[in-house]
Amino acid sequence: MLRTLLQGLRRPVTEPPPPEDAALVALGAALDQATRRKLGRSLSIREVDAGSCNGCELEIHALGNAFYDLERFGLRFVASPRHADVLLVTGPVTRNMREALERTWAATPDPKWVVAAGDCAARGGVFAGSPDCVGPVSAVVPVDLVIAGCPPTPTQLLQGLLALLTR
């Protein structure tokens, strides 16, 4: 078993962070610097699926694999909104998830940011206009940063989240 343990781990597969995306950096820079001094360079993220097809969740999951290793940047996913600085929200907010999203947002202590990940969260995606959806995340809670993509790749997600940490 020791050989299996070490196999594939002798050479790290973790890759350098993706190049910064200028637009995302500008968005990140707009965040309150005083708040950032309080939190340092570490953010706790609570993921909320508010109606996604699960595609975004798969790629958010991938951020944890050895290639992207999200935690080396001080970014970690937490189990409760009460421990979170950031809500990472996906999906075209369904009617049935609206209250849960509002309550999750209310349960997240200030200061907090909301990141809308994926085309559905950003603009409703292919579900825009459905009577069973209430619209993009910004229709329910204030959004600080949008990461486009259907679904956004782990690299795009990482660029977006790192923009929250860089000035």
Binding site: V13, E47, D49, G55, H61, A66, T94, S130, D132
Partner: protein
């Protein structure tokens, strides 16, 4: 009254019959007796449709009952797998199942009452819809006696987006996009199922190359998902090493998919009439290298799973699904196959190119978490074998042929990584979608999770749940 049925001619490839209430109830009786398997049930006012897997010579048939007053005899009253479908039919199409044991709403949310629980020393644990992990939303209401779960009641529908309503009147391109986003982890399978249904409706046959490329993408999708599942199930038994290794392998599959087909999940790569993108010759070499790499790295992981006693201690004899329940519900995929139900629609009824490919369908009978892991481990090898065969024999031909603009109805059954996926579509004379119904494999698996967890401890629920890995989005529509 005698049973009457009239063939509807424009339905392909399997027959559809308009039936009277007596024939409908006879079919219900065959389902309840175990002589037939329910494949799906949906509404189209004033009709209610039911797809049934019968014994040969008619393996699959759809029967339709007119209910102009909005009522039809409940199937769920005699055959439990239909209960949630009937609740959804009432929510979505306003048709009522007379005699149904459960008339609460399902996909459209409103005031809701959970089933009553009576007994000494019981407590309840409500979980969700926002869960602790990065997963989809749903609510689980556990009733426990100490650590032991005596009842689980799930409430789903949180990610109901009205996909079937959005399909009404959509052109084929938009409808295909919606189908591809019904359940993101099964995007290839949904795209194939929708495409095959639309092609059946219009009488179009895609080229052999397109069919083979679809199968290639479908096996890559199955490979990626099974790798993810094996890692995630072991992780829920606190064995995170497996997740680390399987996570890397899954990532390699997705990167190869992106390199070959331009999208990590291969979303929108399958379109009605064929495929949207070809596989270049360097893609063939890249996929061969992927197959070799995954096989070499995964084989010792399977051995490690087998030899790690602390992990086996969690998975063996945990969350047992009895074979008779799997058969009654027609549970597909690794869940059914781990409980003795050897159904794989790649083999029967079958669709190209699987009829000329060689592969095994692994089956076990223990029905525990361990068996569901082993089915996935064995299917990973089968998918690798299939990918190699496809790369070796990929035929030439056009990528896409235009669909004939013709009115008709089509039904397709496609083997997604979770099991058999059903799509039914009615096209109008302009080739637009008049109606579409998508039935995820999870419809017949979610209710079984409630049976499986009974008598297990609360702490084993994540393990049982992950070993099922049902879709929320695909189910909620």
């Amino acid at each position: 009254m005698t049973a009457q049925r009239t063939l509807v001619t424009e339905h392909r490839p399997w027959p559809r019959f308009a039936v009277n209430a007596t024939a409908w109830q006879e079919a219900t009786g065959r389902l309840a007796a175990g002589d037939a398997t329910l494949l799906g049930m949906w509404g189209e006012p004033p009709w209610v449709h039911m797809a049934i897997l019968e014994e040969p010579p008619h393996p699959i048939a759809v029967i339709s009952l007119a209910c102009p007053d909005g009522h039809y005899p409940s199937v769920g009253a005699l055959h439990a797998p239909a209960i949630r479908l009937e609740r959804a039919i009432r929510d979505l199409w306003g048709l009522n199942a007379v005699g149904s044991p459960d008339t609460r709403s399902w996909l459209k949310h409103g005031p809701y009452t959970f089933l009553p629980v009576e007994g000494d020393s019981l407590h309840q644990i409500p979980v969700g819809p926002v869960h602790a992990g990065i997963i989809e939303p749903g609510h689980f209401r556990f009733t426990c006696d100490g650590e032991t779960v005596v009842r689980l009641e799930a409430r789903l529908g949180y990610v109901h987006k009205g996909i079937q309503e959005l399909m009404d009147g959509a052109d084929l391109a938009r409808a295909a996009q919606l189908a591809a986003r019904t359940s993101g982890d099964s995007t290839v399978a949904y795209s194939i199922a929708f495409a095959r249904a639309a092609e059946a409706a219009s009488g179009t046959r895609p080229s052999p190359r397109a069919a083979w490329l679809r199968a290639l993408m479908a096996e890559l999708e199955r490979l990626a998902n099974h790798l993810g599942d094996v890692g995630a199930i072991c992780n829920d038994a606190a064995f995170s090493l497996m997740l680390a290794h399987c996570g890397m392998l899954r990532e390699r599959v997705l990167r190869a998919a992106a390199a070959c087909f331009g999208h990590r999940l291969m979303m929108d790569c399958v379109v009605p009439g064929g495929v949207a993108i070809d596989l270049e010759s360097d893609g063939v070499e890249r996929l061969r290298a992927l197959v070799d790499g995954v096989r070499a790295r995964f084989e010792p992981l399977g051995r490690m799973y087998e030899e790690t006693a602390s992990l086996q201690d969690r998975t063996v004899a945990t969350g047992v699904l009895q074979p008779d329940l799997a058969r009654q519900f027609g549970a597909g995929g690794p869940i059914g196959r781990a409980s003795g139900r050897k159904f794989d629609c790649r083999l029967a009824p079958g669709y190209p190119p699987y009829d000329v490919l060689t592969f095994d369908v692994p089956v076990r009978t223990e029905g525990d978490v361990n068996a569901r892991i082993w089915i996935r481990i064995d299917e990973i090898e089968q998918s690798l074998t299939l990918i190699t065969q496809i790369l070796d024999r990929l035929p030439e031909g056009p990528l896409v042929v235009p669909l004939l603009p013709r009115a008709g109805e089509g039904l397709a059954l496609v083997e997604a990584f979770r099991g058999d996926l059903l799509v039914w579509v009615r096209l109008d004379a302009d080739g637009r979608v008049a109606r579409c119904h998508l039935r995820d494999p999870s419809w017949f698996q979610w209710p079984l999770l409630e049976a499986v967890i009974e008598g297990n401890i609360v702490a084993d629920f994540p393990l049982c749940n992950k070993s099922f890995n049902c879709s929320y989005a695909g189910h909620d529509l």
